[in-house]
Symmetry: C2
Subunit: 663 residues, 2 copies
């Protein structure tokens, strides 16, 4: 944390944590107004943070005339950060080992609070606090940004958000810590070793959301190993015997259920340890971006913008649904083109089979796989755009409501068509393998190497300069260069795409596991490299992301479970359709189907009971959570005074909202 300690204008200690970049043509009045609002005390509706212009902290080696001077560094005093942690309701380990909401009054009872609490909050937490304070910096009586008549404001509107949407503010991002990052990346991916990922360190540096993703990636990889091991002999010995496929499929289906249930426990353990399980999302402030009338949050009593719920839902359905339907239609259309190409290539191959036409047979699948990836990308950006336009209140994944469904359809529609309409198992296997392998290669390339290469090219000049300087005098990069280097890095858009990739891989493994047992092997291999490429991309390619205090993998748990239910249906149908199984019921198809349906229902019931029997949260954590709840209720009982609720509501909101509520 003390890496870039410098003195601010008024002489107090200043640790830069977050960078705010404004366009170079921002008016002077706007800048000084923004800085004064950031520096102003909370009583006056300010954020009470420290902010300094980058230039004034000493020029970098690469300083040039044409560079943007409007880079500002934001920091805060230790006391301000601690009170911010209290406002955010961060949970920390208490002296008795339980997790408790942090309060300044009680700070010395927290386990890691030593001395004046210098290392109590991790840098990621400090940056999250500053981001939250900046986001909730709201307009008071300003009708527009000084110097920019066209940028309107109204009481309660988030200033940062309005500046961002109008393009005056380019970006807000947290600074890396070179030393920490070096340590982390060494233990994470540079050391060749057979150990688990340093999840606690990842959490410490990137926050809980990232750490949970990497935890899930690791868990998922290990969980697939048994499926991969069982799948290998099927491929090696070319077992086409459906007796064995039935066993494989049955094992896979039960296994999928078990691993998803156990992950919930795993995730609860991690989130409890990190303090996010007890912290309630519902008590958070809403997404600051959003405009609406100010009102009181019915739960916390805090003043914040409210959005009429029905209006929001109407927007979701009126805009998202037609959009998704259009995308689905496009996706179907492209699938049909693929089948036409496939048919044409096969006819060419059948006419005159040579080595080259054999290769040609794979071309349509590969092209189709690429097109699918491109469509996924387009859909993703379109959905992002729609979200911005819709400006939903909650910061949850609501705006990506239809994304997994669309991607599922996009990736698997052709496979379903081949399996259940064309009944062509050979083509299914071939198509599955091509899609899986192509998408894996594409993904690895798109995710890590392409951004890295782009960034290298962009920063080539600066890096060279820096290298010279580095070898010349000091091993440390000056702050100004460091900041400018990071400002040019790509922005990490969150774990959504990473989860989506795993979700689709899970689909390839589970949906048709009895047709292509090797899928699990391929996915395990992919995941092992994925750990490294994801780690590399987090450490080297992207700007540091703000941490996200997630308590679980959210909607993805549901998505994976839905996938495992669909997998039961597809696998049972595939096995029921196989000629070997049909041979058992030579006299009647009806018997065969009835048996298939009965087995399928049995498996579904078994899955359901299993889900019910395995508790979602380990016993000892359940006890700790209940104890917290019990003690809270006891504390409330003890504490209550007449008129207490209204009183606490007003003290909570007086700081940041008193000016805007009188309007």
């Amino acid at each position: 944390l003390q890496l870039f300690v410098s003195m601010s204008a008024d002489g107090s200690r200043f640790d830069p944590l977050v960078v705010v970049e404004l366009t170079s043509d921002t008016k002077e009045e706007a800048i000084s107004w923004l800085l004064s609002r950031i520096r102003d005390t909370q009583q006056n509706g300010g954020a009470e943070l420290q902010v300094e212009q980058l230039e004034q902290l000493g020029p970098g080696v690469s300083a040039q005339e044409k560079e943007n001077p409007n880079l500002f560094l934001v920091g805060a005093t230790r006391q301000r950060l601690l009170s911010g942690a209290e406002d955010l309701g961060l949970f920390k380990e208490f002296h008795d080992g339980s997790m408790r909401g942090f309060t300044c009054a009680n700070k010395h009872n927290f386990k890691d609070f030593q001395g004046d609490g210098d290392s109590f909050l991790s840098m990621a937490e400090c940056q999250y606090i500053i981001k939250h304070e900046l986001d909730t910096l709201r307009a008071r009586d300003e009708t527009h940004v000084p110097g920019h008549q066209q940028v309107k404001l109204y009481p309660g509107k988030s200033i940062i958000r309005r500046l961002l949407s109008k393009g005056i503010l380019i970006q807000v991002f947290p600074l890396h810590q070179k030393e920490e990052l070096k340590r982390l990346s060494f233990s994470w991916y540079q050391k060749v070793k057979l150990s688990f990922q340093p999840l606690d360190d990842i959490r410490h540096y990137y926050g809980e959301g990232q750490a949970l993703y990497f935890g899930f990636l690791e868990y998922f990889t290990f969980a697939l190993v048994p499926m991969a091991l069982i799948g290998v002999p099927y491929y090696l010995f070319d077992w086409e015997d459906y007796d064995k496929y039935v066993l494989l499929a049955a094992f896979n289906l039960v296994w999928c259920t078990v691993i998803l249930e156990l992950w919930k426990r795993c995730s609860a353990s991690l989130a409890y340890r990190w303090g996010t399980l007890s912290r309630k999302k519902a008590f958070e402030e809403p997404r600051p971006g959003f405009h609406g009338v100010l009102g009181f949050n019915p739960v916390t009593g805090r003043e914040e913008p409210l959005y009429p719920n029905t209006k929001r839902q109407l927007r979701v359905y009126l805009v998202s649904l037609p959009f998704v339907l259009l995308c689905l239609y496009l996706s179907l259309y492209i699938m049909m083109i693929y089948f036409l190409m496939e048919g044409w290539v096969l006819s060419v191959h059948d006419e005159e089979p040579t080595f080259w036409t054999g290769i040609l047979c794979f071309i349509p699948s590969v092209i189709y796989a690429v097109v699918i990836e491109v469509m996924n990308l387009i859909y993703r950006y379109a959905a992002e755009f729609l979200t911005e336009w819709g400006e939903y209140a909650a910061s949850s994944c609501q705006h990506r409501l239809f994304s997994p469904q669309f991607n599922f359809f996009n990736c698997f529609a052709s496979l379903f068509y081949i399996a259940f309409v064309m009944h062509d198992m050979v083509m299914l296997r071939q198509s599955l393998a091509t899609l899986l392998i192509t998408s894996q290669i594409l993904n690895q390339f798109m995710e890590a190497f392409l951004p890295f290469w782009l960034q290298r090219r962009r920063n080539k000049k600066m890096i060279r300069k820096v290298q010279i300087r580095k070898t010349l005098e000091d091993k440390e990069l000056p702050l100004a260069d460091q900041v400018r280097l990071e400002a040019d890095m790509s922005t990490y858009l969150g774990t959504f795409d990473d989860y989506l990739e795993l979700f689709l891989l899970f689909g390839y493994v589970s949906l048709f596991s009895c047709v292509y047992p090797l899928a699990a092997v391929l996915v395990v291999l992919n995941n092992i490299t994925e750990v490294y490429s994801d780690a590399f991309k987090m450490c080297r390619v992207f700007k540091r992301p703000f941490s996200d205090p997630a308590a679980n993998i959210g909607v993805w748990q549901l998505a994976f479970e839905a996938m495992s239910v669909i997998a039961v249906v597809t696998n049972c149908s595939l096995i029921g359709m196989s000629p070997q199984v049909k041979a058992y019921f030579p006299e009647s198809d009806m018997q065969l189907i009835l048996w298939t349906v009965a087995v399928e229902h049995g498996l579904l019931a078994f899955k359901f009971i299993l889900t019910f029997l395995i508790p979602d949260v380990p016993k000892h954590i359940q006890i700790n959570l209940s104890r917290l709840e019990f003690e809270s209720l006891e504390a409330l009982k003890k504490k209550v005074k007449p008129g207490r609720f209204n009183q606490s509501r007003s003290t909570l909101t007086v700081n940041r909202a008193n000016s805007s509520s009188n309007e």
Copy 2:
């Protein structure tokens, strides 16, 4: 509450609330020891309640030499009841309209607390508090009950429970309030009217568990009315058209899901209003009956007997499972006998069909229905016995784990056999109708009229005496007669049987709704009389039960939902098997089955999505619950002092457990 106010031995005011009856041959030492333990202060490990012998409160008109003198009345001071309510964590309406855990220190902030809080707690709550205090009256250093060497005790053992199990204590029951009961029964079932049941009054008099049952009964009845209305024309016009049956079945399946989901919301509203939704079952003391080593509850920090969890589960599986399997075997065996009888009767009827053989055809079904009811009863008592023997810790319905399953199998096995093995729709309809009607008649008879008649006969003499006395001088019955009259009434065994009956009725309606649409009509009619007979039996036949602060209908919600899932499968199969539907697919059975399966999967998916989309708790209650949680956490933050957890644990347990923990 002031009905039987009298003066106790030491001259203070005494409201009798609960009756404790010991056998007439109990030793004097045992009685005086028990009374002193009940009267002793909480610091000394007593219950700090008032207790008086019935005889000393004035003789009744029917006083005779041979009557049991060991009837004791238990009461408590108002202050003691309020502190008991705090110990139990009762939730009451706060002055701001939210529900809060009651505390004595803060009592004047509760809405209904007026003056010295005379009518703050309902009599049912007072009786529940006294029962709880009596149940948690634990042995200290006694090794046996004084005067009864054979009745062993050990530190921490519930005294009342040991006395009950050894037969020294005959019963503990709460007293009725004549005036209240008269008012309640008038508004409940004596007035002929078309209005809802007085649920709040029922809750006030009998507690939340009873009120929720009657609320569910009423809701269920109203919810079935649409199904009944749609079913009537099918019966009247003899529509055998399966097109229409498909519509009926589809409506029924969706309707079942919707009503079960909406009930959750209804139940949450009721339970929130009554303060049981916020009160956590987990924070309750365990079932007092249970013997085990004393330890600390990991959640509340209170000292209480702990039971090793694995041992308990082992018991459940090692004992209950073979028992259930045996019962299932018996049930199957009896079903086979029924089919033999049915076959024999049919052959008689076919040989020489007369009016009498036509009647004879119904006899096996009726006999079978009676046998099913008898088997349900036997199973029920056997399960009860096993529970006593097993002595599980929690007071929840765990011990009745397999009961709904067994009853389901017992009632519906024959119908499944007829439908899916014999494929005989005419017999299915006839069998269903006979079973449904017979069981309804039997239940109404067994539930209300038989106990009433038995009790009338038993109390004839006393009632006659009382009638004379009543006409002679005063309209009020003396306390002693009142108590003896109630002591002889039958004991109400809880809502389990009532729910079970509704569960089976729901099965008759939903499982085969497309075969016998009139079932819903019969069930609606049955339920209307059921409301009256249940109300009558609660008010006139049984002893007043102790109230049970339930927050929902518990495991029955799950049972009803499972039934509605099974109903989707059965109805789809029945319709798929019907000749009319088969006629649509003349060329291939396979097409038919595939369509049936597809429709069934669609319906299941639709049910699942519906369950997911309809929130379980209404929005405004969700907000209130979140607010309570938020404010509790805030209170905990504010309050925490060093070493606080250990401190609060010790103050909580010092009262009742300090004596036994030192052993």
